[in-house]
């Protein structure tokens, strides 16, 4: 299927910032006056001649792309990159300032589950209400009604107002309706962030089925890079409103994560006087050295990491020096704390290192803290959160993309064996 089903050309979106009030009314009047009497020529808003006024924002600049029928396209980018704005334009909720999008077939968007649910109405009524808001016809809903109810698993509560539902039930019903939409193009924004893990799995399975078996086109924004990798065959990387790259999901996600991980993995201080430390210790170098797996340049859960540090040792008395290193999550939970053997050192440079093996850390953001200890009893210098790095997820042969539980993620073998009867 090599048909272009959707084509976006030079899409830009301009927002005027600031409060709407007396002042904006004055500006409106001035604008109207100018327009009415053509005082100054055509001042067209144009993304290319921005005067970078703090009062305006180009949420999208000159985005063009084509999407083939049957493509499952993932949109990646940081918060504020313009992903949501683009989805809003594609869903016709807001207009582009410049550019056009042309397409074929019915388009349905799921920027939220349960849009238009009425709390006072029963589950049954809401299935019809929400379904029709999302663009289904009544006949279609009648045809799929039993399927929707079965998928949601709320049979018993079908005639209860949804305001009495638990939030889980509410979301399940809402997604069940959405999952039975049957458009040629489906737009989905982060809906995977809802529901319990079982239900997420069901939803992703359904999405895969829709795209693979029914040849539907899906446009999909998610922060879950695993889900994107497994579901999408194409990805678009947005940054600050511009389209950075478009291509195969694997490449785009790899590049995107590399970009995300661009925090310095190395800190070097050449001047001891300016380096962090005190009269006993001055730091010279701190570094995380990853041993990348399959040339990916991304730290993921498989990557062994070597933490190296160098410091000037300036003892005022003879002591046994030990260094303890702890790894903490960004939330401040300590994952582990390891220490060196305490021993005497001469004044001068001291080097240390510790290797964290691959397949130990779970995915997440971590920081390293060092404590320098005198005679295994008291700290002479503490260096907190001196290095930080992200560990990305990596999975193979699984249909489960939810968060992997656990503080750590070792690859201990779990063995199964068939017992003979």
């Amino acid at each position: 299927m090599d048909n272009v089903i959707l084509k976006a050309e030079n899409i830009s979106k301009y927002y005027k910032l600031g409060v709407i009030g007396t002042r904006s009314f004055k500006e409106d009047l001035q604008g109207f006056w100018k327009k009415a009497f053509r005082i100054s020529g055509n001042e067209k808003i144009n993304p290319n001649n921005t005067n970078n006024s703090s009062n305006e924002l180009w949420a999208l600049k000159d985005i063009s792309f084509e999407i083939m029928q049957g493509d499952v396209v993932g949109f990646v980018g940081k918060n504020g990159a313009g992903k949501s704005t683009l989805l809003k334009i594609l869903s016709r909720i807001t207009l582009p300032t410049t550019g056009t999008i042309k397409g074929m077939g019915r388009i349905a968007s799921l920027l939220e589950v349960g849009t238009g649910f009425h709390a006072e109405l029963t589950g049954r009524e809401n299935i019809f209400l929400n379904g029709q808001i999302l663009g289904m016809h009544k006949k279609e809903i009648l045809l799929k009604f039993d399927e929707i109810v079965a998928f949601s698993g709320i049979e018993r509560f079908l005639d209860t107002p949804v305001k009495r539902y638990s939030s889980g039930m509410y979301v399940r019903l809402a997604f069940a309706i959405a999952a039975h939409l049957d458009p040629e193009i489906l737009i989905i924004d982060e809906v995977l962030a809802v529901g319990d893990s079982d239900f997420q799995k069901k939803c992703l399975g359904k999405m895969k089925q829709v795209s693979a078996e029914e040849g539907k086109t899906v446009l999909f924004v998610s922060h879950n890079s695993q889900a994107l990798k497994n579901l999408c065959n194409k990805a678009i990387h947005l940054e600050k409103g511009r389209l950075i790259d478009i291509g195969s999901t694997q490449d785009i996600i790899t590049n995107y994560l590399k970009n995300e991980q661009d925090q310095p993995l190395k800190k070097v201080y050449n001047d001891p006087d300016e380096a962090p430390g005190n009269s006993n210790i001055r730091i010279k170098k701190l570094e995380v050295i990853p041993k990348y797996v399959d040339n990916s340049k991304i730290i993921d859960i498989r990557t062994p990491l070597t933490i190296q540090f160098e410091f000037w040792y300036l003892p005022s008395e003879n002591i046994d020096l030990g260094v303890s290193m702890s790894l903490n999550t960004v939330m401040g939970d300590c994952i582990f704390d390891v220490d060196s053997i305490a021993q005497p050192f001469q004044k001068g440079l001291v080097k240390g290192q510790c290797t964290i093996p691959g397949n130990l850390l779970n995915n997440g953001s971590y920081t390293i803290s060092l404590i320098f200890i005198r005679n295994t009893s008291s700290a002479i210098f503490e260096l907190e959160e001196c290095l930080s790095f992200d560990v990305e997820d990596f999975r193979e042969n699984t249909a489960w993309y939810g968060d992997w539980p656990g503080a750590i993620r070792p690859k201990f073998k779990v063995l199964l064996e068939q017992e003979n009867l």
Binding site: I20, S91, T94, P96, G103, L111, G116, H118, L121, Q132
Partner: protein, 288 residues
């Protein structure tokens, strides 16, 4: 790819999103495609408004009945405002149900964007679906109230031999349509402006409250001084309510010339409202 092929593909596009807007689109064809959704909204509003009540839809009867009774006591008995020799209950009721129909239509329409922002921000459908479904909901209520009115009317007709029925009864559906047209047109215009500046909404709430006193709801238009008569009749609701009363009570002759002016006013407002609403319906979402 050669040009011929390119042209071929261009012709196949089924829809297009672009900043271009036409001055002449009112979106009425779209609306027909979304008739299912319109009826769904009507159903939602009718069901939801009487959930968790004891007497449920009977309220549709009780609301105009209570209002009528209060007017009857306050204006009829305390203030002794003339009702042109019409039975008081029928006089106040005719004013009340038409005024309420107008009021509910216009206030439902003018808050279209504000009350539905959460839906409009997530899903596209022609925004006109919402005010139109509101009009239909209100029409259902009005029809039920008219039944009550006719029952009381028949009571007077049969037992007091008061009125005669005439061919002009056929004007009633037209009057209802005219009220809806006027309310929808002005409501759409206000909706477009309230989305940007909320002052306009406060201002119109005030105007609406005053509106009842420049409309013959609780008094007949005959008590308005002669020099204000022309202005008074320019309010489209004046000929609407007066014609309604003339059709049933025959106290005054139907003023067809003013009815014609009212029709022109309502149609003008509706066309202007539809065009502006269509033009602004998407842009409004960036500022609401």
């Amino acid at each position: 790819m050669d040009t011929e092929e390119k042209e071929d593909i261009k012709l196949n596009w089924q829809w297009e999103i672009s900043p271009a807007k036409s001055w002449f689109k009112m979106g009425l064809i779209d609306l027909y495609a979304y008739r299912g959704l319109i009826l769904r909204f009507v159903r939602r509003d009718l069901i939801a408004s009487y959930q968790q009540t004891i007497i449920g839809p009977i309220w549709i009867f009780l609301q105009p009945l209570f209002t009528t009774l209060i007017y009857l006591i306050v204006f009829g008995n305390f203030a002794k405002v003339s009702t042109d020799d019409t039975p008081k209950i029928l006089f106040y009721m005719s004013g009340t149900i038409i005024w309420t129909f107008f009021f509910d239509n216009i206030s439902g329409t003018m808050y279209t964007f504000i009350t539905n922002a959460h839906i409009f921000n997530k899903v596209y459908f022609p925004r006109l679906v919402v005010p139109v479904s509101n009009i239909i909901t209100q029409s259902v209520r009005l029809s039920i109230q008219l039944v009550l009115f006719i029952i009381i009317f028949l009571y007077y007709y049969i037992f007091f031999d008061k009125f005669q029925l005439s061919i002009s009864l056929f004007l009633i559906p037209f009057l209802i349509l005219l009220t809806a047209t006027f309310a929808l047109g002005s409501g759409l215009l206000i909706a477009v402006f309230t989305a940007r500046y909320r002052d306009i909404d406060t201002f119109f709430q005030y105007i609406l409250r005053l509106g009842m006193f420049i409309t013959p709801v609780v008094f007949p238009s005959t008590i308005v001084p002669q020099k204000y008569q022309f202005l008074f009749w320019l309010n489209p609701l004046t000929p609407i309510i007066e014609t309604f009363r003339s059709v049933f009570f025959h106290q005054n002759a139907i003023q067809y010339n003013y009815l014609l002016i009212a029709t022109a006013e309502a149609i003008f407002l509706l066309i202007l409202g539809l065009i502006l609403f269509k033009r602004r319906e998407v842009e409004v979402m960036d500022i609401i």
